[in-house]
């Protein structure tokens, strides 16, 4: 039984149905072999035995259903065997007898080998798969296996020789040493060269376009240096919010450290960068985000802003107008508001 299983497992590709059938066959065959001496009605029992001998001696892989129900061909073979062996029984009778003969045989096979017979599919599969190692095997193993079970020769396919190519199918030989190529002629190398040239040109154009994209025609930022008018336009005590929207700057005329001066405050809250509003009634800058408040001179006094507003550079230009330069910032906490470039004394 074991050797039979090993045999079966050696067939590398067996379908599940085949494995089950093979296992059942092996079991029932073994059972029958054991049973043979006990059999009394040999005339009926011999028929399937003969059939199995006659029909499938050379077959290594038993067909499904061979163990349970014989196929039509087997039935015929069985009938023939009986005819030749017993001679007296008619084929019809044999056909009638056969199922009856089969059943007791199967039943008998089942009874003595009870533990082996009612096996479930999983155990059969497991048993069938066990001997062959799953997964990859080493070269030595493969060789050993090969040796142990020499491969069956595959039937050689005999291929008739190709017929000679007809004359019209043979391409005319290419003209040798032809340095000049025809106009319509293309080589692979030439094609690639052309293609890459075009691709490179397109890429270059893209690069140029991308670079151009970085410098749009529109100037979105107002100039960082700009003139806001004559100093007379900024009377004392006033905060001019006219330039806040465009230049983000308040120009105010106020007192700082006891000195009346005109200065430009950056309209960005020193807390987190919101834009505060100038509240005329309360005389303070107030940020809507977290409630920071600044005096008219830009010094913080309420809310979370950690330091005063920042000043831009301011000067009276040659034409008498006030010019503000946003490139320079002056911080109060660093003592830079004493720098004369950040205010115009009045």
């Amino acid at each position: 039984m074991r050797s039979g299983k090993a045999d079966m497992a050696d067939k590398k590709k067996m379908s599940v149905a085949e494995m089950i059938a093979a296992a059942r066959k092996a079991d029932s065959g073994g059972g029958e072999a054991d049973d043979q001496p006990n059999k009394t009605d040999s005339s009926e029992a011999e028929a399937p035995a003969k059939v199995s001998q006659g029909s499938a001696p050379s077959k290594s892989v038993p067909k499904p259903g061979e163990a349970g129900r014989p196929s039509v061909a087997e039935m015929l073979a069985m009938a023939r065997g009986e005819k030749s062996g017993a001679e007296k029984a008619a084929p019809k009778k044999a056909a009638e007898k056969k199922p009856a003969a089969k059943k007791p045989a199967a039943a008998k096979a089942a009874t003595p080998s009870k533990p082996a017979e009612p096996r479930d599919t999983a155990s059969i599969l497991a048993a069938a798969r066990k001997p062959s190692k799953a997964g990859p095997m080493s070269k030595a193993e493969a060789a050993a296996k090969e040796k142990a079970n020499p491969k069956k020769e595959k039937p050689k396919i005999v291929v008739p020789p190709m017929p000679q190519k007809p004359a019209y199918a043979i391409a005319p030989p290419a003209p040798k040493n032809s340095s000049k190529k025809g106009a319509g002629e293309e080589t692979r190398r030439g094609f690639l060269a052309e293609g890459f040239t075009f691709l490179g040109a397109a890429l270059l154009l893209w690069t140029v376009a991308t670079v151009k994209f970085m410098f749009p025609n529109v100037l979105r930022e107002p100039p960082s240096k700009f003139k806001v008018g004559l100093p007379d336009e900024f009377p004392p005590g006033q905060v001019n919010t006219k330039y806040k929207a465009q230049f983000a700057v308040w120009i105010s005329n106020g007192e700082y450290n006891g000195q009346q001066q005109i200065y430009a405050l950056r309209s960005v809250c020193t807390h987190l960068g919101c834009t505060p509003n100038w509240l005329e009634a309360e005389q303070k800058f107030k940020c809507p985000c977290h409630g920071s408040g600044f005096y008219k001179d830009g010094v913080n006094f309420e809310g979370p802003a950690p330091r005063p507003l920042e000043r831009y550079a301011i000067r009276v230009a040659e034409d008498g107008q006030i010019e503000i330069d946003k490139n320079q910032l002056f911080f109060e906490e660093k003592g830079e508001w004493d720098n004369p470039s950040c205010f115009i004394p009045v």
Binding site: A245, A281, P304
Partner: protein, 458 residues
């Protein structure tokens, strides 16, 4: 929304809302009564002697049915346009406005949290909880007739916050009720409720079906919401003009509120990172193995109170504060106060170093001579801010060992040095926010340490 409306127009607008609102409340109470009656959970509150019938037992079902009737009557009054009758008295509204300063608000919520914690077994009783639930809705309904309140609460932006308050109240009750019941069971030696129903269910189909149904229901709700309350769009962005007030998304309003009290570097970077890192550290700091898979308070009093303080007090109430009570210029407004952009509040900050040098010693703070080296300047800065530095360092360095020796003695023994230090420092950082808030509101004290020269303020 209510700008330019006369009182009459406003009332008719509110009436169309309040009519269905009160009817919904009536339906809610009616359903509760029906549920109690059908499920046989009737309890007799008291017996009313009625002439002719003898004593009539007033059950909880009858009580809630009575309340439903009252709400139905309110709905009829509101729906008929007689809204001014359903308002809180003017005096009460003024008192609430005066009362809800930031200090009262924050300390009041803390006190409320303590009360709810101490008397939790009383507050989770269904009768009490249902009464409070109804009072909350009634308060909202009565307040809606105030145009200033209505404008803030009914703004499509703020509706989720109102929903959040109610949902949070419900879920807090649910969790606490389960915990109280479990604690009672554990005290009696029984297993907690969740252990009784320990049966495993299948992901498919049990869980996935529930999720699918929830998904569809939520989708339907969101679609309905989006149609009913269109999302407000503001004007195009303008660098020069910041909306007033300018508010963060609602879930960040707690952080925005925190930014008022700390240096932007602290409140914007250090503390949020510490919140995230601290939340991640919780599993490593927690040594209490109890309370795994069931609600309990008695077995985890420390974790429970810290979480409720951090979540309800430091996160949710700050969101509510930021949404409903912070108006133009980030000023604090009472719930019935008009959002006046020109409200003047004297909030002139003081610094601790100024208090020490100018007010106490009557001298100007020490300043390094002009042109002195950086090290000398730093030395002078430290000398100027010495009081704040001592206080802050004392808070973070001296307090943990004291805690380890006194109140957290057993914690220290079980956690070891490193874990204990991490835990106490996280705790102290959390506690520093309310301390800073109170210092700001009561004394206008801005920073303990003020070093604007190096952007170092605390």
């Amino acid at each position: 929304m209510t700008h330019g409306l006369t009182d009459g127009q406003f009332f008719s607008m509110v009436a169309s809302f309040l009519g269905p609102y009160y009817l919904a409340l009536a339906l809610m109470n009616g359903l509760a009564a029906l549920y109690l009656w059908r499920s046989g959970q009737l309890k007799t509150w008291f017996s009313l002697p009625v002439p002719g019938l003898g004593k009539v037992a007033i059950t909880n079902s009858a009580g809630w049915l009575l309340l439903a009737t009252m709400f139905a009557i309110l709905g009829a009054i509101a729906g008929s346009g007689w809204v001014s009758m359903l308002a809180l008295p003017e005096g009460l509204r003024d008192a609430i406005n005066q009362g809800t300063g930031p200090v009262v608000y924050s300390l009041g919520t803390t006190a409320m949290l303590v009360l709810l914690y101490l008397f939790r077994s009383f507050f989770v009783k269904p009768v009490v909880a249902w009464t409070i639930w109804n009072l909350m809705w009634l308060f909202l309904g009565l307040s809606m007739t105030d145009s200033d309140f209505y404008e803030i609460v009914a703004k499509p932006d703020n509706v989720p916050i109102v929903m959040l308050v109610f949902l949070l109240a419900f879920f807090t009750w649910l969790g606490t009720a389960r915990a109280v019941e479990n604690d009672d069971r554990i005290a009696r030696g029984e297993p907690p409720l969740e252990k009784l129903d320990d049966e495993k269910v299948l992901v498919w189909p049990d869980l996935v079906y529930i999720e699918l149904i929830c998904m569809i229901a939520l989708m339907a709700f969101l679609i309905f919401w989006a149609i009913a309350l269109p999302a407000p769009l503001e004007e195009a962005a303008n660098q020069a003009k910041t909306p007033n007030p300018s508010k963060a998304p609602w879930y960040f309003l707690g952080l925005q509120e925190m930014l008022v009290y700390y240096d932007p570097w602290m409140a914007g970077v250090v503390l949020p990172s510490m919140i995230v890192a601290g939340l991640m550290a919780i599993p490593y700091l927690d040594f209490n193995k109890k309370g795994n898979g069931y609600y309990t308070i008695k077995e985890r009093p420390f974790s429970y109170t810290v979480f409720q303080f951090g979540f309800l007090e430091m996160w949710i109430t700050l969101i509510v504060l930021g949404t409903l009570l912070r108006g133009p210029n980030w000023n604090f407004f009472g719930p019935y106060e008009h959002w006046d952009a020109h409200k003047v509040e004297a909030l002139i900050n003081v610094y601790l170093s100024d208090l020490w040098w100018k007010d106490l010693l009557g001298m100007s703070p020490p300043v390094a001579a002009a042109g002195s080296s950086t090290l000398t300047q730093i030395g002078y800065i430290i000398y100027r801010e010495w009081l704040g530095i001592v206080l802050v360092l004392g808070y973070f360095i001296v307090l943990p060992p004291i805690m380890a020796l006194t109140v957290f003695r057993s914690f220290y023994q079980r956690m070891g040095f490193v874990r204990f230090m991490v835990m106490t420092n996280l705790l102290l950082f959390m506690a520093s926010l309310p301390i800073k808030m109170v210092l700001r509101w009561v004394f206008n004290l801005k920073y303990l340490i003020t070093i604007p020269e190096y952007f170092l303020n605390f």
